[in-house]
């Protein structure tokens, strides 16, 4: 989508996005897990600080100086930057000493992305070009080892690129999935199998398989269409899975 990404690839991304939605609508996806949760209002309310955008004032969460008329203009803040002093509420004084800060959503990935972007903006280089450059670097590096390892290494790079691109989504999906019935049912076994792996890595691994399964199902649908197999139109809502294609859960 960014400058530098060919139109055909943009169209492919559109198609994948639409196809994933169609798969969901037709009931072909194995689970009814959320794909992506943008709504973080609950966590934002629990952030240690609240910024009143209507009055331009930063408060500690729960400060009584926040007027009722500003409740619909509050933004949860987890970390205060250097500008905080100028906008700090004199009553609760959020700059006085740090509040216990629950971690915001997706902060590690977000910070990395922002830092990267700030660099990009300085050099007026679009994100996509930088991503492609990284990909190129990875491809240019000698893999080493036997030629038959190339396939595995390519697959590993593919998985890593998806984890890298959708890292924050995967983490969120992981949190959702762990709360779900299916996630809870798997919990015991997963813990046993991955006893050596720490909790956050385990969460990412759970979700990765589901996300990749969804993506794989969409790609199979598209590939089927390209190979002349019958695909459903946008408005079609057939609940019957095609016999020519394996179900998404079978592919995992």
């Amino acid at each position: 989508m960014s400058e530098g990404i060919p139109t055909s690839r943009v169209a492919l991304i559109d198609t994948i996005g639409l196809r994933i939605q169609e798969l969901h609508a037709s009931g072909k996806l194995a689970s009814d897990q959320p794909l992506l949760r943008i709504d973080n209002s609950e966590r934002a309310r629990q952030a240690p600080f609240q910024f009143d955008a209507a009055r331009g004032q930063l408060h500690r969460t729960g400060c009584r100086a926040i007027p009722p008329s500003s409740r619909s203009a509050l933004y949860g803040v987890w970390e205060i930057g250097t500008e905080g002093k100028a906008v700090a509420c004199p009553r609760c004084n959020p700059m006085d000493k740090p509040a216990a800060a629950a971690e915001p959503d997706a902060v590690p990935q977000q910070k990395a992305k922002q830092t990267e972007e700030a660099r990009q903006d300085e050099s007026t280089k679009p994100e996509a070009q930088q991503g492609e450059a990284k990909q190129g670097e990875a491809q240019a590096k000698p893999v080493g080892g036997r030629p038959q390892d190339d396939h595995t290494v390519d697959m590993l790079y593919g998985v890593l690129s998806i984890v890298s691109q959708f890292g924050s989504v995967l983490r969120e999906r992981g949190q959702e999935y762990r709360k779900s019935g299916a996630g809870a049912a798997l919990g015991g076994r997963i813990e046993k199998i991955y006893a050596e792996v720490n909790e956050s890595e385990r969460s990412v691994l759970d979700v990765l398989t589901t996300s990749l399964g969804t993506l794989a199902a969409a790609l199979r649908e598209i590939e089927g269409g390209l190979n002349g197999e019958q695909t459903r139109g946008a408005g079609s809502r057939s609940a019957e899975p095609s016999a020519a294609r394996p179900r998404q859960d079978e592919a995992q």
Binding site: D39, D105, Q114, T124
Partner: protein
């Protein structure tokens, strides 16, 4: 449109003829350029929009051109160049707003409720299940927009959610009929807050897609700028809103032109003193001033001629 020059009451902070010329040049550039980004997407996903008179499509382009001018100012105020990528983000954002507004305004109450419910699902679960060409177009544009930024950035997602909540409240308030009675002060304040939030959060969504970080002081000032845009917009749409039984703060106050003038001066004064000196601030103020003057004129014209849903005002 010829430059309006200094408004008599804006002497203190009128950015001057150089900025007016720049504003004209940017409008010209973006009116010519937004189609390059949007036309291929519309042609692929909702080609019927390009048939016949193309009224809707032309309105969409005009809104997107305005979003680009506002976005240009936002980016410069934030210290960044409004490059080609940001131009594309501004165009996608304008189209996204246009389509979202059309789902709310143009297909009846049931469609409005359905859209809000499904948008809620999109924001909480990621599922939208587009059913029509227009919905596919909306989904693709929104997805492309979301792909330009980490949508799980705390500010991006809060701004998107707050905008959704404001839209929802706006729709709920439409059902508040006054039946010949004057609104209570509390109801009027609620309408005012709703207007403030609709565009205040919308400009923060645009800014969050354009900039890697939003400083808190920036966030507040842009929220004020957004709120002012909505007061101005609602004044311009006063007659069409009343025609469709839609209550807004600006069509319920006793003397709307006087109220708008007061709001305009208060907000512009805050922006002039609160935003860092520079081309971005001047451009934003020039845009808001022109928007204010043209919407005052639109209000007067529509009072006489009536409100046409497809009339395009610069």
């Amino acid at each position: 449109m010829a430059p309006l020059g200094g408004h008599s009451a804006t002497v203190g902070w009128d950015p001057g003829p150089r900025t007016q010329e720049r504003l004209n040049a940017l409008f010209k550039r973006y009116r010519a350029g937004v189609g390059d980004c949007l036309e291929p997407i519309v042609r692929q996903y909702n080609p019927t929009m390009l048939e016949g008179e193309q009224d809707e499509y032309r309105k969409m382009l005009e809104l997107s051109a305005k979003m680009n001018v506002v976005g240009h100012a936002c980016a410069e105020i934030g210290g960044f160049e409004y490059d080609e990528r940001r131009h594309m983000i501004g165009s996608l954002f304008g189209a996204c707003c246009f389509l979202a507004d059309s789902f709310i305004d143009d297909f009846g109450e049931e469609a409005t409720r359905d859209y809000l419910e499904r948008l809620g699902t999109l924001l909480t679960e990621g599922w939208f299940d587009p059913k029509t060409e227009r919905e596919r177009l909306f989904f693709v544009i929104a997805a492309r927009l979301f792909a330009e930024r980490d949508v799980l950035h705390p500010v991006v997602r809060q701004a998107v959610l707050q905008l959704y909540m404001a839209q929802k409240q706006d729709v709920e308030l439409r059902a508040t009929r006054k039946y010949g009675r004057r609104l209570a002060r509390a109801q009027l304040n609620m309408l005012k807050r709703c207007a403030r939030n609709r565009s205040g959060h919308a400009i923060l969504v645009l800014s969050a897609f354009l900039l890697p970080e939003l400083r808190l002081d920036y966030l507040a000032r842009m929220f004020w700028a957004g709120a002012l845009i909505m007061y101005i917009d609602d004044h311009g749409d006063c007659w069409s809103d009343l025609k469709s039984n839609r209550l807004t703060f600006m069509n319920q106050v006793c003397d709307p032109e006087r109220t708008l003038k007061r709001l305009f001066h208060a907000h512009i004064g805050q922006l002039a003193s609160g935003l860092p000196d520079g081309d971005g601030r001047d451009l934003l103020i020039a845009f808001l001033t022109r928007y204010y003057l043209t919407r005052i004129e639109k209000h007067r014209q529509q009072r006489v001629k009536g409100a046409s849903p497809w009339a395009i005002y610069e």
